[in-house]
């Protein structure tokens, strides 16, 4: 692998990411999949790095899931998105940052479509006015939250209490980065590093001390694919794609997988359990799995936040081997405590996949 070759490609795909003043839109599903990720994104940006990030309680779904499942027409999705732009305009912001990759893809696709077909934009403005008497300006900059964390990666590194290094050996941890398809596959120039060799996550991993693994099926979709998972008859494809990725990354012995999509980490994490039950196969050391984290969770770990406050206990694959490697202290007995520090309940453990 010729690293300079990748750097050359990255230099072709640098996108402008303003440093401050963002209107933040959350994801529909991430708060139940990774309950602390969005909270810690805001906490890190606002409290630690002193950035102005605004969110509105009136924000709704962007309609992306419905759009990708063919249950609403694109014009409806556009009107929903137009309303989010109106909220941003009303709040006095012009930079929009999304938590969800599919939202990011949806917003990007809509803005690009309007650029090509201004008459469609005019119609959607009319729909929005008729339906809720709102008007909007289009965002000047649109970013995914991982773009922003990428932008802030060195500031995070400067405040890091832990790094992505095996504290026993001093070797960098081996990181698999997985990018959501809708991040840059539709519009390569809208993603940091493009579509073939994105550097949005690898840039973070390297800044925080890790070594990124480029395995053969790196570019492959996690397999979620909306209709693949949501339609029962297709569910096997979803899992088979994840399986293909794990088989491909296995020889590299990755320590952790980081992702920037709502769906990918959920499936990369949960399918490890299903594969272990069906095939008796696990991909981490000694019967463990490979922990799958969001980039916010990883940033939180590096910055020294408590792993259980970061919500790592809701992952199927236990994060403990990773925490041990990084030398992050944690209280095993507090793993399943609620925010009030009282024990919620202890989940049953899988038969094959070792989850500590």
């Amino acid at each position: 692998m010729i690293y300079q070759g990748k750097q050359k490609i990255w230099s072709d795909y640098q996108k402008e990411i303003p440093d401050n003043h963002w209107f933040y839109v959350r994801s529909c599903i991430r708060q139940s999949f990774f309950p602390a990720s969005e909270h810690y994104f805001l906490k890190i940006c606002r409290d630690l790095l002193d950035r102005d990030i605004y969110e509105s309680a009136h924000h709704t779904t962007c309609g992306g899931i419905a759009y990708h499942c063919d249950t609403i027409p694109q014009e409806t999705a556009m009107t929903i998105v137009a309303r989010q732009f109106a909220l941003m305009t009303e709040a006095g912001y012009e930079n929009l940052v999304t938590s969800c990759i599919t939202s990011f893809g949806n917003y990007t696709e809509i803005l690009e479509t309007w650029r090509e077909f201004p008459e469609l934009e005019a119609r959607v403005r009319e729909h929005l006015w008729k339906s809720c008497r709102r008007e909007f300006r289009k965002p000047v900059y649109l970013a995914h939250a991982s773009d922003l964390v990428y932008k802030l990666r060195d500031e995070i590194a400067a405040r890091a209490r832990f790094s992505l290094v095996d504290k026993e050996t001093g070797e960098p941890l081996k990181i698999v980065e997985h990018i959501g398809c809708h991040y840059s596959k539709m519009f390569p120039h809208k993603g940091v590093g493009g579509a073939e060799y994105p550097c949005v996550l690898s840039g973070m991993a390297e800044a925080w001390g890790g070594k990124v693994i480029d395995y053969p099926e790196r570019r492959h979709c996690c397999g979620f694919g909306f209709r693949q998972y949501l339609v029962k008859a297709n569910r096997g494809y979803s899992m088979s794609n994840t399986y293909k990725k794990f088989e491909s990354m296995e020889p590299y012995h990755p320590d952790v997988i980081i992702t920037n999509c709502p769906g990918c980490p959920f499936f990369l994490d949960r399918w490890q359990y299903v594969i272990s039950e069906q095939e008796g196969k696990t991909y981490g050391p000694d019967g463990h799995g490979i922990p799958v984290l969001t980039y916010e969770e990883l940033a939180g770990l590096v910055l020294g936040f408590d792993p259980w406050d970061l919500g790592l206990q809701v992952h199927q694959v236990g994060p403990e081997p990773l925490l041990d490697k990084m030398g992050i202290p944690y209280d095993p007995s507090a793993k399943y405590n609620g925010l009030d520090r009282k024990k919620l309940m202890t989940p049953g453990l899988p038969a094959v996949l070792k989850c500590c």
């Binding site: 029962k232 008859a233 569910r235 899992m239 293909k244 299903v274 594969i275 069906q278």
Partner: protein, 112 residues
């Protein structure tokens, strides 16, 4: 209850893992087998084709992709009329290929 959580088998052919020993043996005897350009005229003219799926083009390809079961099935459908040989633009002796593959198959245990 079936939730559909099953691994689907991959249909990908891994060229470096395919056993092509039978094809190589065939080419040693009938080098013309390698010169097929997949034009399909053999299948188009084949008497058995539309009723049985017989195709010399597919047979040669299947031999190179390790799809031995398909080869076996096709061999049993050929009526040896020789129309495919007449029509082949590369002058491949397709009839001889079929007979040769049949003979090579006899040596493979458990087949035909």
């Amino acid at each position: 209850m079936d939730f559909g959580f099953n691994l689907s088998p991959s249909s990908a052919v891994e060229l470096d893992k395919v056993d092509t020993s039978l094809f190589r043996e065939l080419c040693r005897i009938e080098p013309g087998a390698r010169t097929c350009i997949g034009c399909g005229s053999c299948s188009a003219t084949c008497t058995a084709s539309e009723h049985s799926g017989m195709s010399v083009r597919k047979l040669l390809l299947s031999l190179q992709r390790g799809k031995m079961r398909d080869v076996e099935k096709m061999l049993t459908c050929c009526m040896l009329c020789g129309k495919c040989t007449m029509v082949c633009p590369r002058g491949i002796n397709t009839r001889r290929i079929i007979l040769t593959v049949c003979r090579l198959y006899e040596n493979v245990e458990g087949r035909i």
